[in-house]
Amino acid sequence: MHHFNKVLLVDDDAATNFLAELAFRNLAIANEIQVAGDGLAACELLKQNNCPDIIFLDIRMPRMDGFDFLDYFNQMNVCKRVKVVMLTSSTRSEDKARALSYTAVIDYIEKPLTEQVIQKIADAHFGR
């Protein structure tokens, strides 16, 4: 299975981040897991140019929401090869369609992030 060098979790809910982190630790497929409380914090991390392989991104967050982050990220011109998975509790189809219209976004999944889901994503988008 693919081994991630670095994973970035972006969510304002600490419990969500904790559960996702736990799933990665149980699978032991990530060297490093970073956590950001909202889009703006994630931007600050990306600006340090220590790019993750994959970002798990929530939509509704204070200060800078998921879509604003994606817009800003497009303009930033850093970490161009990073893949983004939307991790959200929004079941609105327009949110899904909008998210998938960004080239960086490879998947749209509903919370919670489980070990099976991580495996599926790794197989589907990062090869065996």
Binding site: A14, F18, P62
Partner: protein, 480 residues
């Protein structure tokens, strides 16, 4: 002015009668003058013939100087009623013989230029004819006849009578024709006019003008009918659209009510289990029921539960608040309302050390629902205190001004400010938060915005990050 005020009917009658009158008058004058001239010509010819006959008879009397015979000849002229005087002059122009119808009349001998050939001259209705007499081309004398054409007057009078009669007939005829024309022109026009008035008065676009034709009035009537048809169609269309809009808005209203009900019930039903959950978790915390190695997990669960309880409470608050958006206005003393709100958040003001100044001198009153005005004050004040600059007490300046029919409430703070470039589209969204290190739920501005808009106002925000924010609330100030 009278030209446009006179009815078409009268105008047509005047035009027709005047035309007929002028035409007939010109014709009559032409015939009268022509006939008078003809009469005069024939009178001249007759007098001339008489002069010639008298002259031929009188030639021998001049040769033999027989004055009596000449007078006898002249006397025969008394059979001619028009001749008033007749004379024979000798070759020297001296009176030779004379006839006068009435002795009283001019007895002076007529003076005639004897060198002239035969002449005839009119002087008014008097006609004078002279005829020179010759024998073997030797001039012997002149016959002179004076006639008074008494018939001329009679003829003129009778002509005037006839012309008057003809004019009268023409005027009557033209009047009769006008009356008939009215049926075909004026009557139809008047019908069109009365229909127009009826349509304007009743608003009944189903009316039509009947009896159209192919002339201009017919085209006008057809056009009028076509316009009515168009208007009727449009009116029908408008009515139908209006009806469907009404139905649509009723459906919307019902859906809205159902949604409100749904939101209310679901948030209400979530409220009691989450309250219980938070209560139980609090109890567990107090009882030290958690192993130290599970402390972190427990804290996460506890935070999630309290976050959810706050969200559900906020939802309940919003739903309850939406039901109050139809409260009536009342006259509010802004200073009093502010003092009441300051009392409500007394603890917050004291603990933050907030400095609040207010100037309502320009506009001390507003007609607004008291509960909503206080809600606006409270939300703006608590926001200004919550989002203050780190390390210094919040400074808030409040004032009111008047603009058109609005009372503009201006609240200025020197707090964190809002990045307007980034958030301008989201400022009034529900649960939208622009800062992470404070307690906000993201419902205050949403509520203020709903209030202000539903009472016909608007909100302008000026803000610079780390400089502060100025809210300008345009309160729609309708009379009570």
């Amino acid at each position: 002015m009278t030209g446009s005020r006179n009815s078409i009917k009268n105008k047509l009658i005047i035009i027709q009668t005047a035309t007929a009158f002028i035409v007939v008058l010109v014709c009559c004058m032409f015939f009268v003058f022509n006939d008078i001239r003809t009469f005069k010509d024939s009178a001249k010819r007759k007098m001339y013939s008489l002069a010639r006959i008298v002259g031929e008879n009188a030639t021998s009397t001049l040769v033999f100087l027989d004055q009596d015979a000449a007078t006898q000849i002249l006397m025969k002229l008394n059979k001619e009623p028009d001749i008033v005087q007749a004379a024979v002059l000798d070759k020297n122009g001296k009176l030779f013989a004379r006839y006068i119808k009435h002795q009283a009349l001019s007895s002076s001998p007529p003076i005639v230029d004897i060198s002239k050939p035969a002449t005839s001259e009119f002087e008014g209705r008097r006609l004078m004819v002279s005829y020179p007499l010759y024998q073997d081309s030797a001039f012997l004398g002149t016959v002179i006849l004076h006639a008074e054409l008494n018939d001329l007057n009679k003829i003129i009078i009778s002509y005037i009578n006839v012309a008057g009669l003809v004019l009268l007939t023409a005027i009557i005829a033209s009047l009769i024709i006008s009356l008939f024309l009215q049926r075909s022109i004026v009557y139809r026009l008047l019908r069109l006019v009365s229909k127009t008035k009826e349509v304007a008065k009743t608003g009944n676009y189903a009316l039509r003008v009947d009896g159209t034709g192919s002339d201009e009035i017919g085209i006008l009537a057809d056009g009028f009918n076509n316009m009515l048809t168009q208007i009727e169609k449009m009116e029908k269309f408008l009515k139908e659209t209006n009806e469907s809009l009404k139905n649509y808005s009723m459906t919307l209203e019902r859906t809205n009510r159902e949604l409100e009900e749904f939101a209310y019930i679901s948030s209400h039903d979530m409220k009691s289990p989450i309250t219980s959950l938070v209560g139980i978790l609090t109890l567990m915390q107090q009882k030290d029921a958690i192993k130290p190695e599970h402390r972190h997990l427990f804290d996460l669960a506890f935070n999630s539960a309290t976050q959810m309880r706050k969200t559900i409470h906020a939802l309940n608050e919003i739903i309850a608040f939406r039901k109050t958006l139809k409260i009536e206005r009342q006259k509010i003393d802004l200073a009093e309302a502010l003092e009441e709100v300051k009392l409500r958040i007394y603890d917050l003001i004291i603990s933050s050390g907030a400095l609040i100044t207010a100037d309502f001198s320009k506009c001390p009153f507003v007609n607004y629902p008291a509960v909503h005005l206080k809600s606006i004050f409270q939300n703006l004040l608590t926001n200004a205190i919550k989002y203050k600059q780190e390390g210094s007490p919040p400074v808030i300046d409040i004032k009111t001004t008047s603009w058109e029919n609005f009372v503009v409430l201006e609240v200025r703070d020197r707090g964190l400010g809002i990045d307007m470039e980034r958030y301008k589209d989201k400022l009034f969204g529900l649960f939208q938060r622009f800062h992470i290190h404070t307690e906000g739920m993201g419902i205050g501005l949403h509520m203020i915005h709903s209030i202000v808009e539903s009472y016909g106002g608007k909100i302008l925000i000026e803000s610079e990050v780390n400089e502060g924010t100025t809210f300008k609330i345009y309160l729609g100030n309708a009379p009570l």
